[in-house]
């Protein structure tokens, strides 16, 4: 398949990966740049469609807002909540250094 139009450069892929919080190797950056350009080329097929005055469909149901009663329920026990945490300290999730 031909490479088509260039939609993203390698440095843009680096920027997207940074936004998405995914670390990439140099080889992955090259590979994803090539693949993204082909996929985005295919996506741009939608440019052919005239969508003037067409509203977007975010959701297929005619729902506006669904509210529930603001009632206190039974929470999970603390041990259950912490059970899957990779690191914990006492009754807390242990985070990496933030500042």
């Amino acid at each position: 398949m031909s490479a088509g139009k260039k939609h993203v450069s390698k440095s843009e892929v680096e920027h997207i990966a940074w936004l998405a919080h995914i670390e990439l190797t140099e080889e992955e950056k090259e590979l994803f740049t090539e693949q993204f350009n082909r996929i985005l080329d295919f996506f741009r097929k939608i440019d052919e469609v005239d969508t003037n005055n067409v509203p977007p469909t975010y959701h297929v149901l005619e729902l506006v807002n669904v509210y529930r009663k603001d009632e206190v329920g039974e929470p999970l026990p603390k041990e259950e909540v912490l059970k899957n945490a990779p690191r914990r300290e006492d009754d807390f999730f242990k985070s990496p250094k933030i500042v």
Partner: protein
């Protein structure tokens, strides 16, 4: 392998359909324990080469079977799925049972609660026999992107079983489970149903609760049944369907009776055949088998007409833009803090650890979709990609609405080509995405759709897809029943001994 000779019966109990299992247990013709043992022996004998299960749950299953037998002995009334071995796709949360999404990210995740569908299965005394293999986070059409290795197609071990619910479909047709649950975001129930020759139904958006389904693309996906007979499919749907206040997109309307319409009298049924479903890119062999099934339906009184859905040409691109955008947002939660993969040495700053957890925790296809979704939603591109795709979704919906005023049901193939070799397409993402071209419209519109076995090309299964108006699943089951009653495809099994 020696067939298991359960209790007093010489029958291969693993071959029974769900309705026969329930009736057999209630009438005390068979015990739940004998039947579950025969399923367990079957899995032990076969799953080494098929790899349909990530986490089998044999001990829990046996314990539950013995409990059901005791209750039957005491004369208690047992549930509508009493004793039935069900395989659960591994993106549906099960209390106390590891739920991995076939990802390294969730390799050790044990949910502290049951999904609503699991609660409903337990209430009817179904028995969970294991958690099934899938594409990582349900992102794929072949079950090759699983962290736990690919599932193989029981009809030909060199072929893919379809995906992403490939483990569920393969387990069923290999008689390693009697029922199965899958999830369908862009065809993930119907594709493996077609490739493994079982019945798979994607319900109307909102019919089945998504509470406890690990999210990939919320506005598109539904949990649904896979089964080896239409009546079993109807039974499972009637158990899992219905309003759930814990899912704000669950629809509060009464469930249809899914059994009432199971006849093969199709007089007056109007079938629409979208030309685009039989167009370029759909293999001739597939068209031939679907056409012979259409003639079967015609012989039962249905009439058909070809017509066009011009916007379908844009459905696949719109689908992938929307699915990836939603994925990028949904999967942002995997930071390795409260659960999920965390690197051993985490003394660097937060954002580097976060990015490193994700590069090691996620496979390539998941990273690709998160990044492309991030791009489609980012400043400057949002209108060009995401918003434009949502507008095309409106056009497709309108065309389907119009078409289903003229016709009762739309029919075409489920997949554009028969099952292909493992490894054949996985290196080329775009070519693989193209396989979903006929299944994604039902997700974009929210309409219900079913895949039913309709033929074999050599020994490889072909599936027919039927799509109809919201909340008309009973009509899809009627068509499935008509094909099942008038062809033998649903009764064929792969030679696995």
């Amino acid at each position: 392998m020696e067939p298991y000779l359960g209790g007093s019966s010489l029958m291969r109990l693993f071959e029974l359909n769900a309705i026969d299992v329930v009736n057999g247990i209630r009438r005390r013709d068979i015990t739940a324990e004998d039947y579950i043992c025969s399923i367990i022996e079957r899995i032990k004998a076969l799953d080494g080469k098929i790899n349909a299960f990530i986490t089998p749950t044999f001990d829990l299953a046996l314990e539950k079977a013995r409990e059901i037998d005791k209750r039957v002995e005491k004369g208690e009334i047992v549930g509508r799925l009493a004793g039935v071995a069900i395989a659960i796709k591994d993106n549906i949360c099960t209390l106390g049972i590891r739920t991995t999404c076939a990802s390294r990210m969730l390799e050790n995740f044990i949910p502290p609660y049951d999904a609503t569908v699991i609660e409903r299965l337990k209430r009817e005394d179904a028995i969970i026999i294991g958690k099934t293999n899938m594409d990582e986070f349900a992102m794929g059409s072949t079950t090759e992107t699983s962290y736990f290795g690919p599932t193989r197609n029981p009809w030909d071990l060199s072929k893919v079983p379809g995906g992403s619910s490939g483990g569920s479909a393969a387990a069923l047709i290999a008689d390693m489970a009697t029922l199965a649950l899958g999830s369908d975001t862009g065809g993930s129930i119907r594709c493996p149903a077609s490739y493994c020759s079982v019945i798979g139904l994607k319900p109307t958006y909102g019919l089945v609760s998504r509470y406890g389904l690990i999210a990939y693309a919320n506005s598109l996906e539904q949990i649904g049944p896979l089964a080896k007979s239409t009546a079993d499919c109807a039974l499972l749907l009637s158990v899992i369907g219905g309003y759930d206040p814990r899912d704000s997109t669950s629809v509060n309307i009464p469930l249809n009776d899914f059994f009432q319409g199971l006849t093969d009298d199709l007089r007056g049924l109007r079938i629409g055949l979208p030309k685009e479903f039989f167009g370029e890119g759909v293999e001739d062999s597939v068209k031939r088998h679907v056409w012979s099934a259409i003639h079967v339906l015609e012989g039962l009184g249905a009439v058909y007409e070809e017509f066009s859905l011009p916007s379908l040409e844009y459905a696949l691109a719109a689908y992938y833009i929307i699915a990836m955008s939603e994925a990028s947002s949904n999967l942002a939660r995997y930071d390795g803090l409260r659960y999920g993969y965390r690197v051993e040495h985490d003394d660097a700053d937060w954002s580097r650890i976060y990015a490193r957890n994700r590069r090691i925790g996620f496979g390539a296809e998941v990273m690709r979709r998160i990044m492309l979704g991030t791009y489609a939603l980012s400043a400057g591109y949002y209108e060009q990609y995401y918003l434009k795709a949502l507008k095309i979704r409106t056009l497709i919906r309108r065309e389907f609405e119009e078409a289903l005023k003229r016709f009762d049901v739309l029919i075409g193939p489920t997949m554009p080509l028969p099952p292909f070799n493992i490894g054949e397409k996985i290196g080329d993402p775009l070519t693989l995405y193209m396989c979903d071209v006929l299944t994604v419209p039902a997700n974009l519109t929210g309409y219900p759709a079913i895949s039913v076995p309709c033929g074999f090309e050599g020994n490889l299964p072909i599936g027919l897809q039927a799509i109809t108006k919201p909340f008309n699943e009973d009509l899809l089951l009627k068509i499935s029943f008509a094909l099942e009653a008038n062809t033998d495809f649903t009764r064929r099994r792969p030679n696995l001994s």
